[in-house]
Structure formats: C-alpha cells, structure tokens
C-alpha cells in the first residue's frame, strides 16, 4: 500500500453513504476509523469515544480497522450497546473480516455498517412485562 490516502473518493463516498443510511435506519450514530492502532484497536476505539465526549459517545458506534495489524474492533457506547448487543457486533465483524481478507477494505466496511444497522433495534424494556 503506497503512502497517501486510504481510500479513493468513490470509496469514501460509499462509506459515508453507508454511515448515513445506518444512522437513518437504526437511530444510532456511526463513525469509522481506519489506520494504525499499535495493534490495539479496542483501546483506540475507547479513546475515539472519549474524544467525542461522554454525551455523544453514549449513542455512538465506532468501527476501528487496523489494516496493518489485520485487526478490527467495534465499540458501542453505553446506550448504543442496548440497541446493538455484542452478538450483533460480532456478526458484523465477521462479515467485515471476510471481505478484508479478500483485500476489499471499503466493501467490507460498507457491508459491516449494513449489518450493524439491520441489527440495531429498540432495547427490550425490563421489568415492564405483564404476567398473564
């Protein structure tokens, strides 16, 4: 990979479009970080959420991709994790890594965002079930 931009203009457009659609569809906020994380994408994701601020991070989902270390993390904020459980994020991660392994970085990110949006659902209200 030569030095320069990670994505072409068209690839960036498709990722931004997927983010917009996911936000409209599931009601959560998304962002995608692609770059070196010193091999710890989870820690970088937590820092990215921190940079957004407590209030914004609560409803935010950040996808961290480290192509150099071939590792990926999907972090959900405290409120976003009620809509998107860890199983749903693992499913999205699986669809992403299968594309990444084939060399399709932008396509994998778009697929993953689509999977996340499809699984973002209203959280189950606890202690409000009425027994019949």
């Amino acid at each position: 990979m030569p030095a320069g931009d990670a994505f072409s203009g068209r690839q960036l457009d498709s990722i931004e479009r997927a983010i917009r659609q996911a936000e409209e569809f599931g009601g959560l906020d998304y962002s995608v970080y692609v770059g070196d994380t010193d091999g710890d994408p989870r820690e970088r994701g937590r820092q990215l959420l921190g940079a957004l601020g407590q209030e914004v991070a609560r409803n935010h989902v950040v996808v961290v991709v480290d192509p150099g270390h071939r590792s990926l993390a999907i972090l959900t904020g405290s409120r976003a994790s009620l809509h998107l459980d860890d199983r749903a994020t693992a499913l999205a991660a699986m669809s992403m890594t299968s594309s990444f392994g084939a060399g399709d970085l932008a396509g994998g990110i778009v697929d993953g965002l689509r999977t996340l949006a499809e699984h973002a659902r209203q959280p189950r209200a606890l202690h409000t079930d009425v027994e019949n």
Binding site: M1, P2, G4, A6, E16, S31, Q47, L48, A73, T89
Partner: protein, 73 residues
Amino acid sequence: MSALQAFLLFVGLPLLVYGVVALFVYAPSLSRGPKYRPGLSWWAEPVWISGGDSAAVASAEPIVEGGGCSARW
C-alpha cells in the same frame, strides 16, 4: 527510406504500441484508487470518517462503558 523514417518505423511505432498497451493495463487500477493487500504493511494516513476531532484523540480520556467486539483476519 530516410534514416528518420526508419527510426520512426522501428523505434517510434513499437514504443507507441507499448505505451497504448500499458495504458490499457494500468488505467483500471488507476481509476479505482489504492488497493489494500492483506499481509503487506499499511502506510496510509489514519482517517476517521464521520467522526469527531482527530486532534483530540491522543489526549482523550478513554470511555470503557458500553460493549463491542474484536476480530482479526
């Protein structure tokens, strides 16, 4: 046939054909942009799409509440 004509015919024409073929070979990948190759190192600048202020990341206090997952490929 003059020397110039011979030069154009035997050197210029093959070079022109070579250039046209090379253009056809490289044009698709040039228009598609950079391609990620798994296993090779990654030198592109970090990019945070639809994110916040990249300058604030280094000094930000990590948020550990919430969920998520990690994966490798």
